[in-house]
């Protein structure tokens, strides 16, 4: 089939993979990528419960505005879309 938009997937070179934990579960991510990208790739979409109806929520705006991807790293609430993956990072549900 003719593709006008080429598939570039094989031409992308990424950094080494490192392991961090989300909710005590090991997750692989590329060093330096955003936490949200690594969590999405690993199928962790459900990141927190909404405060009033306990409904599942996950990353939404991906640009640091909506606060839906809030998780806890080092005791601080951070946005997963503005936090970078490093080895042994411990990420908890907010």
């Amino acid at each position: 089939m003719i593709r006008l938009v080429p598939n570039h997937a094989t031409r992308i070179k990424r950094s080494e993979t490192v392991t961090f934990t989300f909710d005590s579960e090991p997750v692989q991510g590329h060093l330096g990528e955003t936490l949200v990208a690594a969590l999405m790739r690993a199928g962790h979409l459900n990141l927190r419960e909404a405060p009033n109806d306990s409904a599942p929520r996950g990353a939404f705006c991906c640009m640091g505005l909506c606060q839906e991807c809030a998780v806890i790293v080092d005791g601080q609430v951070v946005e997963a879309c503005r936090t970078v993956v490093s080895a042994d990072l411990v990420v908890e549900r907010a």
Binding site: L4, R11, I12, S15, L31, A55, F60, C62, G64
Partner: protein, 466 residues
């Protein structure tokens, strides 16, 4: 950082970056503050350190050009910095910023706001389900990490962005289950004359569409996503034919990119006293500013999508205009760039914005049980009841129901709430302005706002004599 700057620029996208460049060239002392690790804004966002090698796109080239010019410029760039409050102090501005986990103050004589845009997403049943992300949000994933929202994605929304996102998913090796757009082919035909002036962008858009058609990706014109299925993650979506009001095809999918155009981030400008007006072809409520960014507020300049959605090309040109104007007003010698190129780019930008703004029938997609305010989990019914009991302004709904007081600060509910108020009170949308903006402009962790202090240092007044 307590030294007085001549000019502070908030935002390092095409507008802010170019404003800082031009102002610094004139000899002014310039500081540019931006939330992201590298300049580029949303549209020319830089890649994270995880990408070692990748094919170059037009956005990469434009962003790299701006980044390298700024790195050689005398302008100081404060990255990963959030501006959360701005005050007028006599003849200068004081900006409260959050950087490296602490609050600092920056002062400047003149202020250029290039705060850019955010996305409007029409609330639909299930839009809070994990796996639903914004259309512009998806582009942020692509640009930063070249990663995908899922394995098989439905892309839905208005304007050219829906085709860009679908095309990027294919370029990065993902599968597009369907493209669903409320726009009709006739909408696009009407916009074409305004696009002739930007042949490169027109050709790029045509290529995205042709590729999807060749790949036999279903494109549903005049349709919208009516419901997202799945509980803790997306499993599928339903569609509606907007003209006939009947159900369209359904698709199994693990992710949905959803968006209804961009809206200007006007809160900072509004808070500092800039007048606002309603212009749908600029994305809704926009602050009033001259083409060169000057406003009626002394020492305040605005440029880029933050004063109306005109797109990246127009933003870059207006940044240059505003940077030069602000520098000249302070007595520096800066050239007066021509306004014509900006006017040409603006024409294209307005046409794209007009395609992107939600159709009048979009609000019917928000059913009574649909969450409108994500932060407080308030449904359309909750908001409507509040309006019925007399809350006929966005401020009133905010104080009555907390819609706009949650962590996002109203960024993702106010447009929908204003539309509900307009509909229920028989007003025009142009008569329902957004609520009064209040600091913090960005969420600030309380510990960081308070900074380091010792309880013993707090001045405690002597108790009053009995």
């Amino acid at each position: 950082m307590s030294d007085l700057n001549d000019i502070a620029v908030v935002g390092a996208g095409p507008a802010g970056g170019n404003a800082a460049l031009v102002a610094a060239q004139s000899g002014a002392r310039v500081v540019m503050l931006d939330e992201q690790p590298a300049p580029g804004g949303q549209v020319w966002r830089g890649k994270t350190a995880s990408i070692l090698l990748a094919p170059v796109t037009p956005e990469t080239t434009a962003g790299n050009g701006l980044r390298s010019a700024l790195s050689e410029s005398a302008a100081t760039h404060l990255a990963d910095t959030r501006v959360w409050d701005i005050l007028r102090n006599g003849d200068h501005w004081s900006l409260q910023i959050l950087r490296n986990g602490a609050t600092e103050q920056i002062t400047c004589r003149s202020l250029i706001l290039a705060t850019g845009a955010r996305e409007y997403v029409q609330p639909i049943p299930g839009w809070t389900t994990p796996g639903v992300i914004g259309l512009a949000g998806a582009t942020s994933l692509f640009k930063q990490t070249l990663s995908l929202p899922g394995k098989r994605t439905v892309v839905s929304g208005t304007g050219p962005l829906v085709f860009f996102v679908a095309s990027e998913i294919r370029r990065l090796g993902g599968e597009v289950a369907a493209v669903i757009t409320p726009n009709t082919r006739a909408d696009w035909a009407r916009a074409t004359p305004s696009m002739i002036g930007q042949p490169k962008l027109l050709a790029r858009g045509a290529l995205w569409m042709a590729d999807l058609i060749l790949a036999r990706v279903p494109i549903l014109w005049g349709h919208a996503v009516s419901e997202v299925e799945g509980r803790d993650h997306v499993t599928g979506i339903k569609t509606i034919n907007l003209k006939r009001g009947v159900a369209g095809l359904s698709f199994a999918t693990d992710s949905l990119c959803l968006g209804n155009g961009l809206i200007a981030q006007i809160e900072a400008a509004q808070m500092l006293g800039a007048a606002i007006r309603y212009d749908p072809s600029l994305g809704g409520w926009v602050p009033v500013a001259d083409p060169d960014g000057a406003t009626k507020v002394d020492g305040l300049y605005l440029c880029g999508d933050g004063c109306g959605i005109r797109g990246a090309a127009a933003a870059a040109l207006q940044g240059t205009l505003a940077g030069a104007r602000a520098a000249r007003d302070l007595g520096f010698s800066a050239p007066s760039p021509p306004v014509r190129p900006w006017q040409r780019a603006e024409r294209f930008g307005r046409a794209m914005t007009a395609l992107s703004i939600p159709h009048a029938d979009a609000h019917a997609l928000t059913t009574q049980d649909t969450i409108v305010c994500r932060c407080e989990s308030l449904s359309r019914r909750d908001i409507s009841t509040e309006i019925t009991t007399g809350a006929t302004s966005t401020n009133a709904v905010k104080s009555g129901k907390r819609a706009g007081m949650g962590p996002c600060g109203g960024k993702y509910c106010q447009t929908a709430i204003a539309a509900l108020i307009a509909e229920q009170t028989d007003k025009s949308t142009s008569d329902v302005p957004p609520p009064t903006p209040r600091p913090p402009l960005r969420p600030v962790p309380l510990g960081q706002a308070a900074g380091d202090f010792d309880y013993d240092d707090l001045p405690i007044p002597k108790p009053a004599p009995l």
